[in-house]
């Protein structure tokens, strides 16, 4: 494995971390459109908290996908063709929730507004759950042949472990979205988000424990890297505890950073466990490795130069755009 290959493995992890940190609260807020927000005015406010941002946040996914293609095309080809139906459902969910915000705002009848609100809610739930399921299934090992083609059956990626993984990621996104709403609104929505999280955090703790236990039995992470895997799982729990502390003591930033770091810990856990592989095959001889799945040194070198010259500029205006919309949005009056 060359340094560049290692660097790109890390970079893909960084891009997915960015995606889960940012799109995590987008998904969470999307899930809240129907149940949490009670009136049409409340929904306007809830959606508006992510209005200027969701689009840019989703670009992290597109960039991660593109970067994977540009650095590890064998990984990209195996992962995307192998998890065909899961990715197809993710796409459908992302599409429905993506257009729902704009379409809902322009619907005249309640029936249709209702339709697009459900599209946002269900789409967000499904996207978060399916992403969680996909990555959990991926680390459990899949039937992959010599050519790198994966021929998984339904039971390979839908099982207890992957469902628990999916639920855990969904709940993580949900509390992350609520923490975001606590930061971005004032009034009744802000209060409600706090009380919802008081209930949801204990659920999340339970989920994380079950997930850690299943991780022990379903993957080789604890066998191969007992120290780091344990450390990351502990970090995950600590971040969640900190976020919960932020809920109990009403420290909004602490909660938001805590839930964001919890999501990043999940990504780190996955990437740490994968290393030095990128896809885990049931037959270890067929696992895709960092060293033989990457592009040529020339392309990796080129991509490194380009990424390190463009990404800093992107980060500057990306962060600036959050700064511009820093202001809290007021909850609508109750009579509405």
């Amino acid at each position: 494995m060359t340094n560049l290959q290692f660097l790109w493995f890390i970079l893909i992890g960084v891009l997915f971390s960015g995606f889960f940190f940012l799109e995590g609260f987008d998904f969470g807020v999307g899930m809240l459109v129907k149940s949490f927000a009670k009136t049409s005015d409340e929904r306007d406010v809830v959606i508006k908290t992510i209005g200027p941002h969701w689009d840019g946040n989703e670009v992290w996914l597109i960039t991660a996908g593109g970067a994977m293609f540009a650095s590890f095309p064998m990984w990209y080809a195996t992962l995307f063709s192998g998890f065909y139906l899961v990715l197809f459902l993710i796409l459908a969910a992302l599409i429905f929730r993506g257009v729902s915000f704009e379409f809902r705002a322009n619907m005249k009848t309640d029936t249709w507004r209702n339709f697009w609100e459900w599209a946002a809610t269900i789409g967000s739930f499904c996207a978060a759950f399916l992403f969680g399921m996909l990555f959990t299934a991926m680390i459990a090992g899949m039937p992959i042949d010599k050519n790198g083609d994966m021929t998984a059956h339904f039971g390979d990626y839908v099982n207890l472990f992957s469902i628990v993984g999916g639920v855990a990621v969904t709940v993580l996104c949900l509390v992350h979205g609520l923490n975001f709403i606590r930061l971005k609104t004032s009034g009744s929505l802000r209060d409600r988000a706090l009380s919802w999280n008081k209930i949801l955090y204990p659920v999340l703790f339970a989920g994380e424990v079950v997930f850690a236990i299943l991780l022990f039995f379903s993957t080789d992470f604890f066998d191969k890297k007992p120290m780091t895997t344990t450390a990351i799982v502990v970090a995950l729990v600590i971040f969640t505890v900190l976020a919960y502390w932020g809920v109990l003591g009403n420290h909004e930033w602490l909660s938001f950073i805590g839930s964001g770091l919890s999501l990043i810990s999940v990504v780190v856990l996955i990437f740490n466990g994968l290393f030095p592989r990128v896809m885990i095959a049931n037959n270890p001889a067929n696992s895709l490795l960092i060293k033989n799945s990457s592009n040529s040194p020339y392309t990796l070198h080129l991509m490194t130069i380009l990424t390190f010259s463009i990404l800093p500029i992107v980060l500057v205006y990306f962060i600036w755009s959050y700064w511009v919309f820093y202001k809290r949005l007021a909850s609508p009056k109750q009579s509405a």
């Binding site: 689009d55 989703e58 992962l79 065909y84 592009n295 007021a330």
Partner: protein
């Protein structure tokens, strides 16, 4: 499994065609609208005329709808390479991934961030800064077109690569050559100009329908004027850049060129050009045609002499060149009728757009009322708002069908590129669901644009989402004081 005569290859190709065509309804529309709206807002910034601000906001709404659909369908496009074409992804990863990743990094972030800024900050920034936002969006979306076309250009005309002897995959040796591909620099201006023409004629068409109803005459006449000026400049630009591209094909992809002109036999020195003709694609011959002498040579070489190779000759040449590697049972004929007619639709529409723009600008002169009296002309303009979408599709038909049987010209066939591990059932399901989703989204788009148009430029922004800061806190309400 039911045997419906469906195979993975056919379904994967259909899916690629369907998503690309649908995606490309919205891409040029968005790029073009961003440009036209940016021009309108710039005029507002310069002249201070509120009408132009209203125009930017009004047509900007359609831009936002289109952008939303363009983004989500674009994700399918990106994922599709890995999902349906895993062998292609493995073969081409070294070349294809780079432009795709740069597209996301350099272009999509720019677009998506500044579109949020533009949408929600009408009253918060100085007008010049706000105008800059839409220009950045426009710049970002053009840049994304550039990178994805760089990837497409390699598929049409591979340059700057070697074949890795161990893996058999392509490997980049010169990024400069990949980006400097002449195919790209012939294709890019044509696509961008076509995008500007698309938006211009949709705006012109919408304005024409409202003018027929004598609704907001001043506003729509002004909009019409901006649209037609842009439409004229860039339809001429499209024709010129299309001409460049066509002439580049003669040597580079002679099969595509010969099919566009419906030539089975080599042309004679007289350069007879078939305006229309019929084909027997099984026997590889032309059954009838209406020929005009010299035009073929004028189109091909800008002079009256010369000859062009026909498809039968090109087929022989290609067999001679590729049989050793790909076997003698390859079919190198492209779908002739599709290319022939698509090319005619595209070229004909280009000329029509230029003509409509000239006539429209004459009728719509400031002091003249002609435009309101020539109702037939407004009807034609109104109908032509659909034409750019047909033309854009025809353009891609020529480019992509003309690539057959290659996915990467001369290096990899379409048949060898498909994912071997995806089932017919999966592909059939996704085809049906995508089709249904596209139909819903397309329908909602049309309804939304129609409704926006009917509501008119003075309509209140009622939604609180696209409307920007209409839901700001009332400073006298109780909530204002717990605002931190």
């Amino acid at each position: 499994m039911l045997n419906l005569g469906l195979d993975i290859l056919g379904l994967a190709r259909f899916q690629f065609g369907m998503t690309t065509v649908f995606h490309f309804f919205f891409v040029p529309f968005s790029i073009g609208l961003a440009f036209v709206v940016a021009v309108m807002e710039t005029m507002y910034a310069i002249k201070g005329d509120e009408d132009y601000k209203k125009m930017a906001q009004f047509w900007g709404k359609m831009f936002l709808y289109s952008f939303a659909v363009g983004v989500v369908t674009g994700i399918i496009q990106e994922f599709q390479f890995g999902m349906n074409w895993s062998e292609y992804s493995r073969f081409m990863g070294d070349i294809f991934g780079a432009p795709l990743a740069i597209e996301a990094l350099a272009a999509f972030f720019l677009e998506s961030t500044f579109i949020g800024m533009w949408m929600f900050t009408w009253d918060r920034f100085n007008k010049w800064v706000h105008t800059l936002f839409i220009w950045l969006v426009m710049f970002g979306s053009s840049l994304s077109a550039l990178w994805i076309l760089a990837a497409n250009s390699f598929m049409q005309n591979p340059l700057g690569y070697i074949i890795n002897q161990k893996t058999g995959h392509v490997q980049m040796v010169s990024f400069g050559k990949v980006v400097g591909n002449p195919q790209l620099w012939n294709e890019f201006p044509h696509v961008i100009f076509g995008a500007f023409v698309t938006a211009a004629f949709v705006i012109a068409g919408c304005s024409a329908w409202r003018l027929l109803k004598k609704d907001h005459v001043g506003f729509y006449r002004k909009s019409l004027n901006v649209a037609l000026v842009i439409g004229l400049i860039f339809s001429l630009g499209s024709i010129a850049s299309g001409d460049l591209q066509t002439r580049y094909l003669i040597n580079n992809q002679p099969m595509k060129f010969a099919a566009m002109e419906g030539l089975y036999k080599n042309s004679t020195n007289k350069g007879e050009w078939a305006a229309v003709s019929g084909f027997d694609t099984k026997q590889h011959k032309t059954t009838w045609s209406v020929d005009v002498p010299y035009v073929l040579n004028l189109l091909s070489y800008h002079k009256t002499t010369g000859t062009v190779k026909g498809m039968n000759q090109v087929n022989k040449d290609m067999h001679a060149k590729y049989d050793k590697k790909f076997g003698s049972d390859m079919n190198y004929y492209v779908p002739t009728k599709t290319l022939f007619w698509s090319f005619r639709i595209m070229a004909g529409a280009g000329a029509l757009f230029a003509l409509l723009a000239i006539v429209g600008l004459i009728f719509n002169r400031k002091r003249s009322q002609l435009i309101m009296k020539q109702r037939w002309f407004l009807y034609i303009l109104g109908l032509c708002l659909w034409l750019p979408f047909v033309v854009n599709t025809a353009g891609w038909f020529v480019t992509e069908f003309g690539r057959y049987p290659w996915i990467v010209y001369g290096l990899l066939t379409i048949a060898d590129a498909v994912s071997p591990n995806v089932s017919v059932a999966s592909l059939l399901t996704t085809n049906i669901v995508y089709f249904a989703m596209f139909a819903i989204m397309g329908l909602v788009m049309i309804i939304l644009c129609h409704r926006t148009l009917k509501a008119g430029p003075d309509a209140e922004n009622t939604d609180g989402y696209s409307a920007g800061d209409t839901k700001e806190l009332d400073p006298y309400s109780k909530g204002a004081f717990n605002h931190d």
